[in-house]
Each structure stands twice: as C-alpha cells, then as structure tokens.
C-alpha cells in the first residue's frame, strides 16, 4: 500500500487556474475525504491523482515515485465513479474481471479474485447479470468490486453515493467504512456531503475555490473550524454565524443583546473588534432542554418564529439582531410560533471569528 503526496499541485485550463497549489500528504491506509461545495476543485484534484487530468504544475507521487507523466493504468490505483461507469455491454463478472483481463492474468486467478470480491461485497448472486438489470445500490457495489479486485495501491472515490437515495446512501456509507477496514488500503474520497465526510474520514480536507481551507480529523474540523467557511460547511444544521462587536468583556449584537466573551477566547480579542459569533444550534437550547449542562453558559431570551419537530429533537427558528439563528430542543414539547423562550448558550463551545478575515480567533 502506498502513501500519496501532492506537492504544490496546480491545474489550469488555458489561462484559468482552478486548483491553486495543493499540498497534501496522505499516509498508508489512510481514509482521506476531500469535501467542499461543487466547483471547489476537489474532483479535479482527485482526477489529477488518478491521471485523468494533466497536472499543470507541481508533483503528485504515489508510493515512491512521481507519477505526473504516468498514464492512469500505470499508477496502480482504482477508482469508483459517481455514475459507476459500469460497462453496459459486459456482465457483472466481466466488469469485475476486466482490469485483470487487461493485465493478462490467467483465467483461474481472475475467477478467484472476482469470487473473492463478490464475496466481500455480497455480489455472488448477481455475477451473470448485466448492469442494466441491477438496482442502484447493486451497481454501486459492483463499481466497488471492480475497484477492489485489482488490489490497487489506492482507491479513489468520486462522489460514489450521490446517485443513491437517502436511505441507501446511509447503508452504503457503512459498507464503504467496513470495506476499508477489511481491505486496508489508502483511500481518497471526494464528496460534497459533509455527513459522509464526517462519518467516513480518518482525515477531512475541506476545499473551497481551489484552495484547501482546513485539513484534520473529523473531530478537529468539527470542533475547531479555522474559519467561517469551514464552520458553516461542516455540521448540520449549519453553525449560526452572527455579526457582533467586542465591547469590553461582552459580545454585543446589533440590537443590543449581549453575551460574555467565552472564557477560553478572552485573551484573543481586543475591545472594539468586529467579530462573527459562531454557535452551533446544538449549543443553543431552551433552558431545561439541553443534552448536558454546559460549564460556561449564558442566557438569551428569544422569540421562536417556527419550530420543526424531527422526533427526539426539535429545530427552533429564532433571530438575533435580525439574523436568523437556529436552536435545538431535546425532549419534545409543543412550541407555538411567537412563543418566547429562554435559551441556554453553551459558551465553552462558541466560536469567534474575525469579521474582516473570517478566520477563527483561536485555532488549536
């Protein structure tokens, strides 16, 4: 298995630069997820690793050597495509064995490896069918099977789940995770879905506009977003981001409401600084309805304009200084629109970003 290194990788189409110098080291057997909104360059980066796009500048190495000028077939990688790219004129068995056949493996090896892969993915019953006769989930599994039969140095996944319905997506997510644990290979996985990124990744790479915004474990990225973009992109519902001004020891909103500056951030801000106050909805809970009491908490009294019951939790829509903010309530109870509630604000999990740069005032 191999490590993958991207060194200042740049992609240009004509004069337009779309990827601006990516540096990334992926360790042996690591599961790395590239995540970001569409057009952020994540797929292009993946395709450069695969050899499907020319690398305009910089180097990509897989294992010991630079692979910039190697065609895909010589990089010993395999890839799962968003629309699966199964060969419609071949049976499942032929699809799975195609790469081995091209590599001129003998029949016995091919059969053995195909059966092995089919076994891992539970495709035994489907081997003689054609792709047209398969359901979406089955196709997805065949695409993965095609990737694993070749025992490649690395798996590349390009939004493999985005064509599946929500339920299947969750199921396949788990299977991919299990698969990785079983076959232990380096994985580079591209998605725009932050939930997938959070659940699958050993490390998440958040990208935007051809730049890497933040690299880190899911926990790190979730808990310590480096800027407002990462903060709003990771987590669902997204973090509330509210403009405010530091006045003494308080964070003061435009309508005069105020909260104390979180203790751990107190020394990172100065008086009069324009900031963005970031708070995840989970940390804005009506008093008595939070999961756990926060150590460093404050109170806000807010009007609820709308509530959405999701089952064990309820999303509450409210506004702070004219900005919409969402809170969460655990333990169901009826909330009438217009009702005024007192909210508990978990200040030890609140964030402050500089309003001018969008950067977090404290990155650990």
């Amino acid at each position: 298995m191999a490590e993958i290194k991207l060194n200042n990788v740049i992609k240009r189409y004509g004069k337009t630069e779309v990827v601006h110098g990516i540096n990334l080291d992926i360790a042996h057997n690591e599961f790395v997820v590239l995540v970001g909104p569409s057009g952020c360059g994540k797929s292009t980066t993946l395709r450069m690793i695969a050899g499907l796009e020319d690398i305009s500048d910089g180097t990509v190495s897989i294992g010991p050597g630079v692979v910039n000028d190697l065609p895909p077939r010589k990089r010993n990688i395999s890839m799962v495509f968003q629309n699966y790219a199964l060969y419609p004129h071949m049976s499942v068995r032929e699809n799975l064995g195609f790469g081995l056949k091209i590599a001129k493996q003998d029949e016995a090896t091919i059969t053995a490896r195909v059966d092995e892969a089919a076994d891992i993915l539970g495709l035994d019953e489907l081997l003689e069918r054609t792709p047209a006769e398969l359901s979406g989930g089955q196709r997805q599994r065949v695409a993965m099977g095609r990737a694993i039969v070749r025992h490649p140095e690395a798996f590349l996944f390009d939004e493999p789940l985005s064509n599946l319905d929500a339920k299947l997506r969750v199921q396949m997510r788990t299977e991919i995770k299990k698969l990785h644990q079983k076959v232990k290979t380096t994985v580079v996985y591209v998605t725009h879905d932050q939930v997938e990124a959070m659940t699958l990744a050993d490390r998440i790479v958040v990208m935007k506009d051809g730049h890497i915004e933040q690299v880190g474990t899911p926990m790190k990225v979730f808990n310590h977003p480096v800027n407002t973009f990462v903060a709003s992109f990771i987590g669902s519902p997204p973090m509330n981001l509210l403009p405010a001004t530091i006045t003494g020891a308080d964070v003061v909103f435009a309508d005069g409401k105020s909260l104390p500056v979180p203790t751990r951030l107190a020394d990172r801000v100065r008086d009069g600084q324009e900031v963005i106050f970031g708070l995840r909805p989970d940390d804005l809970t009506p008093v008595g309805h939070g999961i756990a009491e926060s150590g460093d908490s404050a109170r806000l009294t807010l009007d609820v304009t709308l509530s959405e019951l999701l089952g064990t939790e309820t999303i509450l829509y409210t506004s702070i200084a004219g900005q919409e903010a969402q809170g969460k309530m655990f333990g169901a109870r009826e909330v009438a629109p217009g009702e005024t509630l007192e909210f508990d604000v978990a200040m030890d999990r609140a964030h402050l970003f500089d309003a001018a740069t969008g950067k977090s005032v404290r990155v650990d």
């Binding site: 189409y13 695969a50 050899g51 499907l52 065609p71 895909p72 077939r73 990688i77 395999s78 890839m79 495509f81 968003q82 629309n83 790219a85 060969y87 419609p88 004129h89 195609f98 790469g99 091209i102 590599a103 095609r146 070749r150 590349l156």
Partner: protein, 285 residues
Amino acid sequence: MNGKLRKQIGAIATWVLTFILMVIICVPGLWVVLTAFRPNGEVLAKPPVWIPDNPSLNNFAKIFGFGADQVAIPVPAYFANSLIIALTSTAIALLIGMSGGYAFARYRFRFKNGLFLGLMLSRTVPGIALSLPIFMIWSRIGLIDAKLGLIIVYVALNVPFTIWLIDGFFRQIPKEMSEAAQVDGCTRWQAFWKIEFPLAKSGIASAGIFAFLTSWNEYALASNLTRSTDSKTLPVGLMDFTAQFTIDWAGMSAMAVIIIIPALILTFLVQKHLIAGLTFGGVKG
C-alpha cells in the same frame, strides 16, 4: 356531438390521412417496381395498365444477358462496382469519421467550433461545382475510371456527416466509461476499442448506412469520374438505357429495382438504428 363520437371521428380521420400520405409515398415507387415486370409496350399504354397483364422477368433476363434479345448492359459488373465502391468508401469514411467524431466528442481544443463548421460546410459544395476540377486533378494522377478515384471522393463526401453523427454517439457514452477502463489498466486506445467502440456500435452502424446510401445512389460525380465497366456504378449504368433516341423504360425500371433492393433490405434490417442514428447523433450530440 358527444366526446366519444368526436374521438372516433378523429381516429378515423387520422387513419384516412395516413393512408393517403402513404399512397402518395408509395405509388410512384410502386409504379417503377411494377413496370420492371411488364413489356415496354404496356408501359406506354393508354389508358394505363396498373397491374401488369402478364408479369414476367423478361426485363431482368434481358439486362442480365439471358434470352434472345439481350441488351448488352453489364449490370453484374456495375453491381459489383457499386458494391465495392460503396462498401469500401463507407468503411473508410467510418474509420475517419470515428477518429474525427471521437476528437470532437472527447477533447477540448482550439478552433473546435470553427473546424466543425468548416467540415460541415465542405459538404455543402454542390457536386456539379466540384465535378470538373476533381476530374482535372484525378486525370493527372490516374484516378479517372478507377474505383479508387470514386472511393476517395465518396469518403470526402461522407466524412462530414459521419463525423457529426458519430460525435453525437460518443457524447452519449459517459466519459467515465473510458476513464474507468484506463484506471482499470487500459491504454486510451484499448479503452476505445474495448469499451467505447462497442457501445457506440449502433450509432456507427447508422452513420454507415447513411454513408452507404449516399455512395450507392450518387450520380452527378460518378457520371463524370467513371468511364467503363472498370468503375461505372449502377446509377450511371441507368443512363445506358437512354440511348440516343430512346429510353427503355421497362429495362430501366428493372435496373432501378436492382438498385433499390439492396438499399431496401439494408434499411429494413436496420431501420431502428437509422432513426436512432439521426436522433441521437444529430439531436442530442
């Protein structure tokens, strides 16, 4: 009038209209076919004889040189020429068209739209405007009255439209197919032949039919570039029936039937592809 009655009248009207249209489409052609089976005298009868009184294969026997009064028109040779020229030029046009269509479908490059337009416009030059200059050049390099000379011309005639259709078909095949194959260990060349080509086969076949029909039926250029049984094609051979003072309508019709039959068989066999060809290739590309 109630709705049901109105619907029924509508259905009947549709049928009647369709029937009339089909008659208009079929009758002129059918007349040619029927004429192939009648004696010359009956062709000119007044009032017309619709169904031949004594249908016979005489006209066919005559042009194939059986029977007493044979007309020495070497139809088998023309047929062979037509077949060789049409098939070869179609095959070459398809190869060139596949290569070009693939380039347009799969690559981004400078002058792409201009080049595409240029290729298409080259097809619009009327044959009559090309016939003499081509003749002059061909005669310098010995391509007059040679099958090769006509094959080259037909290839050029067919390439633009072939590229257009095949381009459309390659666009139908997700790019990822070829990429997956390359990741699976194929060279681009292998990926093309093992994955994209088999998938575009039906489209390529339909482009082939159009190319074949064009070559098979072309007259204006062939009449200038062919001379003898070495290269004359069936449509040019049709003129053999127009002597200085007479036209042998019945013989001509028999030959027409011989020209139409292969085209007809081909079309019946692949009519689905033909429609698909125009649709996908032309429309969705």
